[in-house]
């Protein structure tokens, strides 16, 4: 370059020639260098992108590792087994014996619960009216039946079909106000009366009949569950008790019923089927 400047006239054409070729060379150089710079920038940018993609949080890490090991179906791959695994079976055999000791204790508690749930001493209330107001056919004396029947109609102890009607007249305020509740309770109990658990000798009986009495509390829980009129067969009585037991809790009492509870008598089976 400095040589071209030193001798201007003579080398004008030569310089021009040199300049021309130099210019071409310069242009090529600039183009090449700029494209190279663009490439570098682009690769740097691309490289940045990839780093961001893979470097963000643990999710990226998982993806990385996932790509590597998913081909190996980790589910089937057994984990590393250390020699101590061999010792485990003997340890376990040793362990198995002590846990057996608490077993009788855990079995004992359900039995205790059962006896607690049995309403052996009837509450004073039940003595007052449960025995007397719904006239159980067992009670032969007429005066027990008389108060319930305002007209003084004498009902023979056996025909409780008539008894149902009189109950409606006598104490059935709940029954007349909430027939839907009673229908719903019947629908609740019916599938729980499991005849399969009856003693095979009486399973197909058409004459056995028992009456279960209990009280439904405001929240649907039940108290004083007992056999009010026995069928004479323990298996049949127990099936009735179990049917009510399995239906607990009943639906909560209707909100506009002011009393805290309602007493119930339940026939197994329907009186009409006798």
């Amino acid at each position: 370059m400095s040589a071209a400047i030193a001798n201007p006239t003579e080398r004008f054409t030569a310089t021009q020639g040199v300049e021309a070729s130099f210019r071409k060379f310069l242009i090529y150089s600039i183009v090449f260098h700029s494209s190279l710079a663009v490439l570098i920038a682009a690769s740097a940018y691309f490289h940045w992108d990839r780093q961001q993609w893979s470097g963000t949080g643990s999710l990226g890490d998982a993806k990385h590792v996932g790509l590597v090991s998913s081909a190996g179906l980790p589910m089937l791959k057994p984990p590393v087994v250390t020699p101590s695994e061999v010792a485990d079976p003997t340890k376990s055999l040793y362990k198995e014996e002590p846990p057996k000791l608490p077993e009788p204790k855990t079995e004992a508690t359900p039995i205790q619960k059962f006896t607690k749930e049995k309403p052996l001493p009837p509450s004073p209330k039940s003595k007052k009216f449960e025995n007397k107001t719904p006239p159980p056919p067992n009670a032969v004396p007429g005066h027990n039946g008389v108060p319930d029947i305002p007209a003084g109609l004498q009902q023979s102890p056996g025909s409780s079909a008539g008894g149902v009607a009189t109950h409606q007249q006598a104490g059935g305020e709940f029954e007349s106000r909430y027939p839907w509740y009673i229908a719903a309770a019947k629908r609740r109990v019916a599938p729980n009366w499991n005849l399969l658990f009856l003693d095979p000798a009486v399973r197909n009986s058409r004459t056995l009949h028992c009456v279960i009495s209990f009280t439904i509390m405001r929240d649907g829980s039940v108290k004083n569950l007992r056999v009010s009129e026995t069928s004479g067969n323990l298996s049949w009585d127990n099936s009735g008790l179990r049917a009510i037991q399995s239906s607990i809790p009943f639906a909560p009492l209707p909100s506009d019923w002011t009393a805290p509870e309602v007493s119930v008598l339940w026939d197994f089976p329907d009186i009409e089927n006798r």
Partner: protein, 448 residues
């Protein structure tokens, strides 16, 4: 004579005592009912078209009516009277209800649900009643007013709540499922994620987007969390781990990771413990831990793997699980502390998998591949060992899960081609397909 008279007076006195108690009993209230030997007929209920108070309420009142009808028809305890028999004029309030029209033999309804709907730009108000039309003196069973945003989703919620109210009252105390949800696994986005939907298949949306494999979702008893199996790295090795989704927080929360393959989490009925299957000791065995996953305690010690535990929800005392310690996968029952393992014997050979206790703790649903056929859903009473087959010759049916009312089951079936989620009544009837998009499996019904 006077002596007799005196005795008679004494008798009268004695007789009057029970009279006083009768009056007392009347105040207390009582009723007499019975259970017959025959089948109990289902009550018939009609759902009249809910009346829109203005034109802008028409779509929502039609939507409300239809959802209530669908909920009641699928409840399994009510018979919905077909709308084609309804009288032309629908009552929109109690004064318009005419009992005779509905108890007419053509309609023969015992209960009628009716009401009206009014809508503004900011609020929808629904007045809904359910009346007993067979008892003119004691009519009203349900009377509710619902107020909320005038959106489809809100009207749907109110319809489910009203159906719940009716089912609660008419079933005599059984829980109703109209507002429950089903969690399941769907691969429609490309990876298996945990999804959730309403019990009738509406409102399907994903809960997780972990982009790994998620399996076996299980609701906690208070429906606040879902435990599931997902693949996470442990010491740079990806393995199956127990993962926890918090419904309250709306995201996956942390849970300890254990070596080996960890899956099939099952909750205790009080929600304080989890049993899961883990191969941390080499062989898949059952371990119990608390809800924070601390200090898992081993419960099973045998050759062969143990998995798919299910905890008795009523007693919390026994756990049924699947083990192949006898050669092929069979059902075993043990105490919740791992003692007293017994085999649940069945009359035929075959693979027994996916046991699920019913909410009353008396029935066990499971999937059984008998030598003659493919996988079908069965229900067994463990005490009497009686079994009932619910699905017959309709694709491959697996992974049953009970609804909280103990009357419905949700399961996965290939009867429609791809694996999809289906529901049915616990007697095998009324099978409905809930999902259609992609591959859907492993359903679990929410407890409330």
């Amino acid at each position: 004579m006077s002596f007799v008279f005196r005795r008679f007076r004494i008798c009268l006195l004695l007789a009057s005592l029970p009279l006083a108690q009768t009056a007392f009993a009347q105040k207390e209230g009582w009723f007499r009912a019975s259970t017959g030997l025959g089948e109990v007929s289902q009550p018939r209920i009609a759902v009249a078209d809910f009346g829109p108070r203005a034109d802008n309420a028409k779509t929502h009142s039609a939507q409300f009516t239809q959802i209530v009808r669908d909920d009641l028809a699928s409840s399994g305890i009510l018979e919905l009277v077909s709308p084609s028999f309804y009288p032309t004029q629908s009552p929109t309030q109690p004064s318009e209800l005419q009992n005779a029209v509905w108890t007419d033999p053509q309609v023969n309804a015992h209960y009628v649900a009716f009401g009206n709907l009014s809508e503004t730009a900011s609020e929808v108000v629904i007045q809904a009643w359910m009346y007993d039309v067979t008892n003119p003196s004691a009519q009203s069973v349900v009377g509710k007013i619902y107020r909320g945003a005038p959106t489809d989703a809100q009207v749907r919620k109110f319809a489910h709540q009203f159906a719940d109210e009716i089912i609660n009252k008419l079933s005599g105390g059984l829980p109703s499922i109209a507002s429950t949800q089903i969690a399941f696994i769907s691969s429609r986005t490309g990876s298996k994620e945990v999804w959730v939907m309403d019990y009738d298949g509406a409102n399907q949306h994903p809960l997780t987007s972990l982009r790994t494999i998620s399996l076996m979702p299980r609701w906690s008893p208070d429906a606040s969390r879902i435990a599931f199996t997902c693949y996470q790295p442990v010491n740079r090795v990806v393995s199956a781990q127990i993962c926890m989704y918090s419904v309250d927080a709306g995201k996956v929360i942390s849970f300890p990771r254990f070596p080996g393959t960890n899956s099939a989490a099952a909750w205790s009925p009080d929600g304080t413990q989890l049993i899961f299957s883990s191969s941390m000791a080499g062989n898949p065995e059952l371990y119990v831990t608390d809800i924070n996953g601390s200090k898992p305690k081993r419960l099973t010690f045998s050759t062969g793997g143990s998995t798919s535990p299910t905890w008795n929800p009523k007693t919390g005392q026994s756990v049924v699980f699947v083990s192949d310690r006898g050669g092929i996968p069979k059902l075993y029952m043990m105490n919740a502390d791992g003692t007293n393992v017994i085999t649940l014997d069945l009359p035929d050979k075959g693979y027994l998998i996916d046991p699920a206790w019913s909410p009353n703790g008396q029935l066990l649903a499971f999937s059984w591949r008998r030598p003659s056929g493919n996988y079908d859903i069965y229900v067994m009473e463990p005490t009497s060992q009686q079994i009932v087959e619910l699905t017959v010759d309709e694709g491959r049916n697996e992974r049953p899960s009970w609804a909280p009312d103990g009357r419905h089951l949700v399961f996965e079936s290939t009867r429609a081609g791809q694996r999809q989620i289906w529901t049915m009544l616990a007697d095998g009837s009324q099978a409905h397909q809930l999902t259609t998009d992609g591959h859907n499996e492993s359903p679990n019904w929410s407890p409330k």
